[in-house]
């Protein structure tokens, strides 16, 4: 277990050691989130490395990571706690066999005790036996519905959960909370106000090349730069779905797997599906001429 970083530089270092290359402003947001005990709300297009922030923080601070993947209809039973019904029924049967009054208040108290409680991610994060708080990742909050958002609001402000049959759980140390959103829906302002907000943008060419180099084993520096430049040029087009950094990494891995050390038009044509996920987009880019684009990317990579 390691301590909370005491400077912005320390945060940057921590991220970099785990091959997460972040710009300064993200490091500032993370630093403040850690120091002021505020949840960090990360928003950005798909594939810019939002979820990765939580993973890197957990491993860098040597904390347990608890992940809650959001979806529509996510409710208390799946997010906070659930009773172990099978065991409860078994317990009632055993009590009967022992001759006890099955429906007695005694049995009821027993089966709604802590050992029959299944802790889901949010309760795990709060009911922390460890000395160090966990990193709680609430992933893709925009996929959950408003009802869950409202529940979360309460949780994030006082970090307590009440189970009617047992009592209230309060976090000894509030967990480090990271929320991510892909913006498929506007998340309510009230929730954002509980958090520090950070918009993760697409990285610039140099940084994206750096990321690609760090993430794709065996890639040459030149190819990483060319790939980054090519993707950057795609992002200037009005596409239905722009390629994210995750796509850049996938694509660069594909290029390496094909044994390429430099970009050419043929391989770009063959592998464009790793970058563009809509037929309309693929068509548009093919029509606009790949050879020119590859050429431009190489020039940009060389000059940058």
């Amino acid at each position: 277990m390691s301590r909370i970083p005491d400077s912005i530089e320390a945060v940057s270092r921590l991220l970099e050691e785990r091959r997460y290359i972040a710009d300064r402003s993200l490091a500032v947001s993370i630093f403040l989130g850690l120091r002021l005990n505020k949840p960090l709300f990360l928003e950005g297009e798909a594939g810019v490395g939002k979820t990765e922030v939580a993973k890197v923080l957990a491993s860098g601070l040597q904390r347990r990571m608890i992940r809650l993947q959001c979806y529509e209809g996510l409710d208390v039973n799946h997010a906070v706690y659930e009773w172990n019904y099978a065991r409860q029924i078994l317990h009632i049967r055993l009590a009967e066999a022992r001759g006890a009054q099955a429906a007695s208040a005694e049995t009821e108290r027993e089966i709604f005790g802590p050992e029959f409680l299944i802790k889901r991610p949010l309760l795990q994060a709060i009911d922390d036996r460890d000395e160090e708080p966990a990193v709680l990742l609430i992933d893709e909050i925009d996929r959950a519905d408003e009802e869950f958002e409202a529940f979360l609001l309460e949780l994030l402000s006082d970090f307590t959960v009440t189970v009617p049959e047992i009592g209230t759980f309060t976090a000894k140390h509030p967990p480090i909370v990271v929320l991510t959103s892909n913006r498929t829906r506007e998340v309510h302002d009230a929730l954002k106000r509980r958090c520090l907000y950070h918009w993760i943008d697409y990285p610039d060419l140099a940084r994206e090349a750096q990321i690609t180099e760090a993430k794709v084993p065996g890639i040459s520096r030149a190819l990483a730069r060319e790939a980054a430049a090519f993707v950057a040029s795609l992002r200037t087009e009005a596409l239905y779905k722009q390629p994210g950094v995750a796509e850049t990494i996938d694509w660069a891995s594909a290029l390496v797997a094909l044994g390429k050390t430099t970009l050419d038009e043929n391989v770009a044509t063959e592998t464009i599906g790793a970058l563009l996920k809509y037929q309309e987009d693929v068509k548009k880019i093919r029509q606009s001429g790949l050879s020119g684009r590859v050429h431009e990317a190489k020039k940009a990579a060389a000059s940058a």
Binding site: F31, L32, L36, K38, D75, Q88, I92, T184, R193
Partner: protein, 414 residues
């Protein structure tokens, strides 16, 4: 870190006012959080201070642009840093941005009397709009007209009798249930559905541990998201006020409504129509739209919508309603392409045409003919009765949607 205890809070308060002038919600709790942040990171680097401010005050990508403008406007004339690239100014000076020239700032950004009239909502939502965040000149709204496209102010000052009637008509249907979908959220129910172990066990305790009564949960119904795209070009001028009122009424009786207006460009007005008072809301819309009564480029606007907004607002099976007469001076093949895509991405695509009310109307404008193959319901929207017809169409879009119009291949249209 803080050397002049009075100067800093004063400046933070002034900064908060500047932010509010730029339409950012800088509530006192945010200011306090910002002060705490500054205590953590100090003033050594201007970029760090800016990043901290972003983390505290900004709540979406559009606000970020405005924050950057506000920050630069405020802190550049303060002594925090003398140049954009200049870092590390560790002296007392750097930590007291107030000492030298806060006064001119105060008079420049904050109107006399100090009431920072927050320009709410975001005025420049449309991405790709050539919006350069400039300083807002003295407390008026005229800056929004500084675009080349400003084609005259819209007078939204009086309610006509027909509009009163509309408001009345729609408010009677306050609890309208339009276009439902099955949500993934469940509620205790009877009969079929998912087994509810929790309630079954609870009930069994009453029966001495014998689960006699099997409880279930059923999926709840939820209002579908509705996305309205309203044409406000010159040819629609006569209807636009009434239609905007209609949009406002929909928003306040249904809740889940995203609204956009378009002429030569697309503008999102969801935040503006959130205001309860219809006149205030429409005033706000009027001052945020730059292309009133101008030309129409439906294809380009739909393209803009498909690229920038569709993924954000059509995620959960939304119903899309386009209100336009179909007069288009833009690229027709683009219009057809984007309509096809829009139909595929929406649960149902409805086109309201005010001209359709006329007895002899045939959809003969090129734009309308290009768009029509991809429209599921083509309905009139020229009077109250026709709007009531829309309500019926929406009600039909339920758990089972009516057959969709089969679009002919694109090649036949263009």
């Amino acid at each position: 870190m803080i050397h002049e205890p009075q100067a800093l809070p004063l400046n933070l308060i002034i900064f908060g006012r500047v932010l509010r002038r730029f339409g950012l919600g800088a509530a006192p709790d945010r200011i306090v959080l910002f002060a705490q942040s500054l205590a953590e990171i100090g003033f050594a680097s201007r970029e760090d201070v800016k990043a901290a401010g972003r983390a505290v005050f900004v709540r979406n990508a559009d606000e970020r642009r405005r924050f950057d403008a506000a920050f630069d406007a405020f802190w550049s004339s303060a002594t925090l840093s003398r140049g954009p690239d200049e870092r590390a100014e560790p002296s007392d000076q750097s930590s007291s941005p107030a000492s030298d020239e806060p006064r001119p700032l105060l008079t420049r950004h904050v109107p006399a009397g100090g009431q920072a009239s927050a320009h709410e909502g975001s005025r420049h939502e449309a991405r790709g709009a050539p919006f350069e965040a400039k300083l807002v000149p003295q407390g008026d709204r005229s800056f929004t007209y500084s675009f080349a496209e400003a084609l005259g102010e819209k007078d939204f000052s009086r309610l006509t009798s027909a509009e009163v009637e509309l408001a009345h008509e729609l408010s009677r249907h306050k609890r309208l249930e339009l276009g439902k979908r099955v949500s993934r959220r469940t509620a205790p129910g009877r009969g079929g559905g998912v087994f509810d172990a929790r309630r079954t066990l609870r009930a069994s305790l009453r029966e001495f541990g014998e689960p006699l009564d099997l409880r279930t949960r059923t999926r709840q119904l939820k209002q579908r998201d509705i996305v309205l795209l309203c044409d406000i070009s010159g040819s629609m001028d006569r209807y636009s006020r009434l239609l905007l009122q209609f949009i406002h009424a929909m928003r306040h009786s249904l809740g889940r409504v995203e609204a956009f207006v378009f002429g030569t460009r697309l503008t999102r007005i969801t935040r503006q129509i959130r205001r309860r008072d219809v006149n205030e809301a429409l005033d706000d819309v009027a001052s945020s739209v730059a292309d009133w009564g101008g030309g129409t480029r439906i294809g380009e606007c739909l393209h803009d919508f498909n690229v920038h907004w569709a993924r954000r607002v059509l995620a959960r099976g939304a119903i899309v309603i386009i209100i336009s007469d179909g007069w288009d001076r833009g690229d027709i093949s683009l219009l057809a392409r984007e309509m096809q895509r829009l139909q595929r991405m929406s649960y149902r695509l409805i086109w309201l045409n005010p001209l359709l009310g006329g007895r002899n109307y045939r959809p003969q404008t090129i734009g309308m003919r290009a768009a029509l193959p991809f429209v599921d319901d083509f309905l009139p929207a020229h009077n109250l009765k026709s709007l009531a017809q829309l309500v019926l169409a929406l009600r039909a879009v339920d758990r089972r949607r009516p057959a969709r119009r089969q679009s002919s291949p694109l090649a036949d249209v263009v």
